[in-house]
């Protein structure tokens, strides 16, 4: 759990796009990792959890919506931002219903994406604090 800097996992099957994004985001002080598929994204999450995931929707294998469902099941406190060239009302709706933080359309302005990540991280921090308080409260009852 990182107080100052969010850890962000980017998942996209377009490797050129992914690499550019990773480069530009790390220049802006974001702690980045990349995965080329939904499956790889889940494997990386298992190894170590990221605060935020930025993920494509249309990917071969496990698509973004399926992966989102799995992430929200296993790591409900991780915020997921969908970033896609697939402008579809239904997919956006499904993603938001599943608890995506936002559904952004490519091409995205890099600063706008950065702000989204910061906003999502703000939410993560509040949730973390709430849990910490709860744990402390539970502990003080025991003692």
């Amino acid at each position: 759990m990182n107080q100052g800097r969010p850890t962000v996992l980017f998942v996209d099957d377009e490797i050129d796009f992914l690499n550019t994004l990773l480069k530009r985001m790390s220049k802006r002080g974001i702690d980045v990792r990349g995965a080329g598929s939904g499956e790889e994204g889940l494997r990386l999450m298992q190894k170590s959890k990221s605060d935020i995931i930025v993920m494509d929707v249309r990917m071969p294998g496990m698509d973004g919506i399926e992966t989102l469902r799995e992430i929200k099941r296993q790591w409900p406190l991780t915020e997921v931002i969908m970033l896609t060239g697939h402008a579809s009302l239904e997919a956006a709706r499904e993603g938001m219903e599943l608890g995506a933080f936002d559904y952004l359309m490519k091409p995205v302005d890099i600063d706008e994406l950065l702000y989204k990540i910061e906003d999502a991280f703000g939410k993560v921090l509040i949730q973390q604090k709430k849990i910490k308080r709860l744990e402390e409260a539970a502990e003080s009852k025991h003692t």
């Binding site: 249309r58 896609t84 060239g85 697939h86 402008a87 579809s88 009302l89 239904e90 956006a92 709706r93 938001m96 936002d102 559904y103 952004l104 359309m105 490519k106 091409p107 302005d109 600063d111 706008e112 702000y115 906003d119 703000g122 939410k123 509040i126 604090k129 709430k130 849990i131 308080r133 709860l134 409260a137 539970a138």
Partner: protein, 869 residues
């Protein structure tokens, strides 16, 4: 699971009023609420921004495609959805009708977006002998016309078959291409030509690499076999696009798609895919974008026709294509295949035939034809240079052939009842015969735009002339910097509004015509594709000026007078006087109509007055209504939550500025420097950047009239205003009764009531310039409707002068400014502060125009002084 329940219980227990030990939890609860509110506000801003963008786009002066519409609809829906979710967090269970309304609106939008062509006929292949004009939605207009000519008028059309629209759909579906294509189009930034070229190449590659569905391959092979049986020699085919939508609303689609000539039967599949892929060629992509055609409406069927090895070929128009009031028949002809005439690559002979009293050749312009295109015996088409003086200089049609062709053309025109554009070929056999290869209605130019001037006349050479002569391919005159394009890559550097100079009038230059002031070529005639496109886009075009490129240099200012057949040095104003404003080609296009239809469920605002009984979720009929409703309620919820909590630190504080003021402040998060225990907060404890800016504007200029009742200046006005008994009607919530600030360091909302005027200001200012905004709503009372309207108009105009977007509906004003630097925002906030206080002065003067003007100037001066302080 149990863990989260515990969290919930823990927090819900605080609702009874906090025990001291729970203060920290409550503080956290406030923080979370404020965070939800912040996200709600940011979604609201985003949604409004998209709506404003949709409105701008609807004006029709910029190009957009379906990708734009889908992306905007999706983005606006997502943001409204986020607002609904956040509202649910701020006031659980309170506005349950919202999701219902949202779903209903979404469904409307979704069903418009997903409308698609319905193919009623699922045949993959249809032989030409079975084709007629009623089949145009399955074989395309071009092929349907050929079937009509062959089967119903008995014209000589080469035998063949259509690979239908159903086949195209099958090909895309089998290869799962459409979604992938849509995705790539949406992800690309198409403003720049380089990206467009790259996108085109990618998509064409996807199509060319697609697999032929086996059922389609079998049917094509069978059709080829049946054709071969009718012939005693191996057959060769011409594959031509025959796309849907080509005949829509005066659009030519000239020269966008590939035709592949002289294809041997074993290569038919790859030729088929190549023709399909030309739907995503740069000319076609640009054209659809510029003319507003939906990608999915343009399905490609392919016409496969037996190749005619032509001795000569060309195009016949049944009236003057440039000046339609001239009813003569215009025939362009060249040696060999008509290809060279159609693609504008060489200059061709022109024969003009009058129709009354009988067909009669009234002009023959025979040019030196440097080369011709003929079929290779094995496959493909080759270019042969015509060296023999005789052949090159000889007319490509004899007088009797010309008259025969003119009669054929008139017969076709009579059948269709409108002027026609006909591609023809004269076959190479002993009994030379005309074959009709293509036929379509002529693009009709508005005769009023082009008062009939002679097409071809030799002007006197004025002093300014750098070249003269040639052919008017599209009428008009224009001036701009010259730009010479020689190779394909040169399209990348073409500046807007330049004059394009090229050697040959090839279709590959068409993508530039949407941005060109005029186009000049060394070769090519008015029958070519480029000429068609130039006329369609109303770009003056002067063709066939030999040696032109040696006389001009890129960057030089020139004036092209296409009617006067002259290119001039410099800018000649006298020639430009008749230049008509370029019209908006997007207006009324299929894509534009689609955006208009979806926007009706998004943009209009019906929920105007929060005090009206109709201001409730059930009355929301557009996404804008929902955002307006939620925004209003979210501010109130934030306010009420703060007011109702018995948590001293978080209750509203009264502003103390020299004396206690009638202004209350609710700190949402980090709006104070230090915690305030008592009843008052001093101005120097305020940390909210926007509130401080606003306050500076409020106190900057003392109130000077009408004289306040007790004559004590600014402070007394403030007391008096809030003590106005008319306001205490008992029907309003507390929120509306007083002047309330809700603040954090970056955020400020102010709901104020001074006199009879009610205004709500909301603003956020931070280093995120893209998210900075000011929203100012004003509704003035205590006057007749007419004066109220004039008052909001006065304010709206003043705000517009300082960069706000003002929207006035009846006597409500809503002004917005967004996406600017913090410095601009704080300066404008001072302006608003000033206006909030001083608008009352307008009450008495609104019926006197001279006074209005004087006050406008005074306000302007004051505002500029304040903003610069």
């Amino acid at each position: 699971m149990g863990f989260f329940n515990r969290i919930q219980n823990y927090f819900s227990s605080t609702k009874e009023g906090p025990l001291p030990s729970d203060a920290e939890a409550l503080r956290l609860d406030f923080k979370e609420r404020y965070n939800n509110f912040k996200l709600l506000i940011s979604a609201n801003n985003k949604a409004l921004e998209i709506m404003a963008d949709i409105e701008r786009t609807l004006k029709g002066d910029k190009t957009f495609g379906m990708a734009y519409i889908k992306a905007r609809c999706t983005a606006v829906s997502v943001n409204v959805f986020r607002m609904i979710r956040k509202m649910e967090r701020l006031a659980p269970g309170k506005y349950e009708a919202l999701p219902e309304r949202y779903n209903a609106i979404q469904n409307e939008i979704g069903s418009i977006l997903s409308e698609s062509r319905t193919v009623r006929d699922d045949r993959l292949i249809i032989p030409l002998t079975d084709i007629h004009v009623e089949l145009s939605d399955i074989v395309g207009g071009k092929m349907a016309n050929l079937g009509e000519l062959k089967n119903r008028i008995g014209m000589n059309v080469p035998d063949g078959f259509s690979i239908t629209v159903a086949a195209y759909d099958l090909f895309l579906k089998d290869n799962d291409l459409q979604t992938e294509i849509d995705r790539r189009i949406q992800s690309a930034t198409l403003e720049n030509m380089e990206n467009l070229v790259a996108l085109s190449a990618e998509i064409r590659q996807l199509i060319v690499q697609g697999k032929m569905p086996s059922v389609l391959a079998n049917e094509i092979n069978e059709a080829v076999r049946q054709l071969s049986e009718k012939s005693d020699q191996p057959i060769y085919l011409a594959l031509r696009s025959s796309a849907l939508g080509e005949d829509a609303s005066g659009a030519s689609f000239a020269g966008q798609y590939h035709s592949i000539l002289n294809v041997s039967t074993e290569n038919i599949f790859s030729a088929y895919k190549e023709v399909l892929s030309s739907k995503y060629g740069v000319p076609a992509l640009t054209y659809r974008l510029n003319r507003g055609f939906r990608d999915e409406d343009i399905a490609m069927s392919v016409a496969c026709l037996c190749m005619v090895d032509a001795v000569s070929g060309g195009v016949a128009y049944t009236c003057n294509p440039v000046y339609p009031s001239d009813q003569s028949i215009f025939i362009n002809a060249a040696w060999g295949l008509p290809k060279s005439v159609v693609d504008g690559s060489i200059s061709s002979d022109l024969f003009v035939v009058s129709r009354t009293p009988e067909v009669n050749i009234i002009r023959s312009d025979i040019v030196h034809k440097e080369r011709k295109f003929v079929c290779y015996p094995e496959e493909g088409v080759c270019r042969i240079d015509l060296t023999g003086e005789d052949t090159a200089a000889m007319p490509s049609l004899t007088p009797s052939q010309i008259l025969k062709l003119a009669e054929l053309a008139l017969k076709i025109e009579a059948y269709y009842g409108s002027p026609q554009d006909i591609e023809w070929a004269l076959s190479n056999e002993t009994s030379a015969e005309f074959h009709i290869l293509q036929c379509r209605p002529m693009q009709q130019m508005n005769p009023e735009d082009n008062p009939g001037r002679e097409t071809i006349h030799l002007p006197d050479m004025p002093e300014t002339a750098m070249a003269s002569g040639g052919i008017t391919a599209s009428p008009g005159s224009a001036s701009g910097p010259a730009y010479i394009a020689e190779k394909a890559a040169d399209i990348l550097g073409f500046p807007d509004n330049a004059v394009l100079f090229v050697r040959q009038a090839l279709p590959q230059w068409a993508p530039l015509l949407g941005r060109a002031a005029a186009v000049v070529t060394e070769q090519g005639g008015f029958a070519g594709h480029l000429a068609n496109v130039a006329r369609e886009f109303s770009v003056p075009a002067l063709f066939s000026l030999p040696g032109m490129l040696e006389k001009v240099e890129t960057g030089m200012t020139v004036t092209v007078d296409a009617d006067g057949l002259c290119v001039h040095h410099g800018r000649i104003e006298s020639l430009l006087t008749n230049r008509k404003a370029s019209h908006f080609l997007m207006l009324d296009s299929p894509v534009h109509r689609m955006l208009q239809r979806v926007s009706r469920h998004i943009v209009p605002l019906n929920l105007l007055d929060p005090d009206s009984p109709d201001f409730r979720p059930r009355m929301c009929t557009t996404l804008h209504d929902i955002t307006r409703f939620i925004h209003e309620k979210s501010v109130q919820e934030m306010f009420n939550f703060g007011m109702n909590h018995h948590f001293p630190e978080k209750t509203a504080k009264q502003l103390y500025y020299k004396v206690p003021m009638q202004w209350w402040i609710l700190n949402l998060d980090d709006g104070f420097h230090a915690e305030v225990k008592g009843k008052y907060v001093k101005i120097d404890n305020i940390a909210s950047v926007p509130m401080l800016a606003l306050w500076e504007g409020i106190i900057a200029v003392p109130w000077e009239g009408p004289p306040p009742i007790d004559g004590k200046g600014l402070l007394s006005v403030m007391f008096q205003a809030t003590a106005n008994p008319h306001l205490n009607t008992g029907t309003r919530s507390k929120y509306a009764e007083r002047n309330y600030f809700m603040i954090s360091r970056q955020y400020c909302s102010l709901s104020s009531r001074l006199g009879f005027h009610f205004s709500i200001l909301e603003t956020s200012v931070s280093e995120r310039a893209a998210e900075n905004y000011i929203s100012f709503r004003f509704k003035g009372g205590a006057a007749d409707q007419d004066r109220r309207t004039r008052r909001v108009r006065f304010l709206g105009e003043l705000l517009a002068e300082f960069g706000f977007r003002s929207d006035i509906q009846s006597d409500h004003l809503h002004a917005r400014l967004e996406g600017v630097d913090a410095g601009v925002i704080t300066a404008r906030l001072k302006m608003i502060g000033y206006l909030i206080l001083h608008t009352r002065q307008l009450d008495m003067i609104m019926s006197k125009p001279a006074m209005v003007l004087r006050y406008h100037d005074k306000f302007r001066n004051d505002i500029e002084k304040i903003m610069n302080s």
